[in-house]
């Protein structure tokens, strides 16, 4: 038993070192993978569950980041606005151990308090954040269904003003989703913003 355990650890370590440094996450135009992650209601959520959706707004988010808090109402509003065509899915990839207030129990409380009507999933292995290339919170990936594939159409921030929702000049995510719904090309496909780094587990 002990031998097989250490053998397993050895293989996993090998796998980790073999696979980790190459991937840098998705670029616009890449095909995104689906996932199966646990929601705050205890149920597993996959993008495949949403047969009617034209695409998705995936948000890597958390409970604790001041930028996540500043954008919280805007995230809820985005979900309400596009729930039919582009459902919003929030994912917390922060290591609950390295970031106090970001555990699964904390997520349940937070979603309840804020009245989330969209899934808030836990990425316990941080594998989805790594595969997608999420670095910040909140970090948005707009996916568009094309011939059954999930194509990355936009990567970046929600808008150009974290301080004040009323002073926003450029609504990047809304503009991208509106364009996709209208069958038009997305004008701004990539943006950057200051934000909290995702709290990675120490390797």
């Amino acid at each position: 038993m002990k031998l097989s355990n250490s053998l397993l650890t050895f293989c996993l370590t090998l796998l980790f070192f073999a696979g980790s440094p190459v991937k840098k996450g998705y670029d616009v135009g890449d095909t995104a993978i689906d996932f199966k992650l646990k929601n705050v209601d205890g149920k597993m959520v996959s993008l495949a569950n949403y047969k009617e959706a034209k695409g998705f707004i995936i948000i890597f988010d958390c409970n604790t980041c001041p930028y996540s808090k500043a954008y919280n109402d805007r995230i809820i509003a985005l979900s309400k606005k596009y729930s039919k065509d582009f459902p919003l899915i929030a994912i917390n990839s922060n290591s609950g151990e390295d970031s106090s207030g970001d555990s699964f129990e904390d997520m349940i409380k937070y979603a309840k308090k804020k009245g989330y009507d969209f899934p808030y999933l836990v990425d316990a292995t941080q594998e989805i954040a790594k595969t997608y290339g999420a670095t910040n919170t909140p970090h948005i990936f707009v996916l568009n269904k094309e011939q059954g594939n999930l194509k990355v159409a936009y990567i970046g921030t929600i808008d150009d003003n974290p301080r004040n929702a009323k002073s926003v000049a450029k609504r990047y995510v809304e503009d991208a989703v509106d364009a996709l719904i209208d069958g038009k090309p997305v004008a701004t496909t990539k943006t950057k913003a200051i934000g909290c780094g995702i709290k990675w587990r120490d390797a």
Partner: protein, 200 residues
């Protein structure tokens, strides 16, 4: 100690007035003169309190607000020192945790110029939090507060490898043009290794 000089000069002049007041009381001078001296004395003391507290407040405000263009020009150099820019914010726990590494570098290595670039006002336009933080933690390294809006328009100009996440550290040798950019928290000793690499 400019604060101390202010304190001393005001103490001396206030004392003079107190003596004058006592003196004219002794002499039983007329009432108007005594009232006049008393008023001057009160004004002195009031002024002293105001000036002293302002001097104290200004002393805590040693973080300069810097526009993007100035920071961009600075990064290019030329400089005889290795330039180290750490992008941080008071709300960012991993940033605050690694600040002592930069403070130590600033203290130990005079061939390096350390600048701590606060990103706080991207979220909250009032820089008071940063001033308080710098004061409370007795930060010795140079602190600047980046005064710039719409980060999407300039993050790539600082470094194209920067995701925008904090903390982030930029190390530049302006003589060779070599740069290193680290978009996560640094481990103990990592900073020294990176500087040794860029120096040679």
């Amino acid at each position: 100690m400019p604060e101390f000089k202010v304190f001393l000069s005001f103490s001396v002049s206030s004392l003079k007035h107190v003596l004058l007041f006592i003196n004219c009381n002794k002499k039983r001078s007329n009432f108007t003169i005594r009232l006049y001296v008393l008023l001057i004395m009160i004004r002195r003391i009031f002024l002293f309190i105001v000036v002293f507290s302002v001097a104290h407040f200004v002393n805590g405000q040693n973080a300069e607000l810097v526009k993007l263009e100035k920071l961009k020009a600075e990064i290019v150099g030329p400089s005889d020192q290795i330039l180290v820019y750490n992008f941080w914010a008071t709300w960012c726990a991993p940033c605050v945790k690694e600040l002592p590494l930069f403070e130590k570098l600033n203290e130990d290595n005079k061939e390096v110029k350390v600048t701590l670039v606060s990103m706080d006002i991207d979220l909250d336009p009032n820089p008071a939090k940063v001033y308080k933080f710098v004061d409370r933690k007795k930060i010795q390294s140079r602190v600047i507060i980046l005064d710039a809006v719409d980060p999407n328009s300039w993050i790539n100009q600082i470094d194209k490898n920067w995701s925008g996440a904090l903390p982030a550290t930029l190390i530049i040798n302006t003589k060779t043009g070599e740069r290193k950019f680290i978009n996560n928290a640094l481990k103990d000793g990592e900073l020294e290794t990176l500087i040794a690499e860029i120096k040679s």
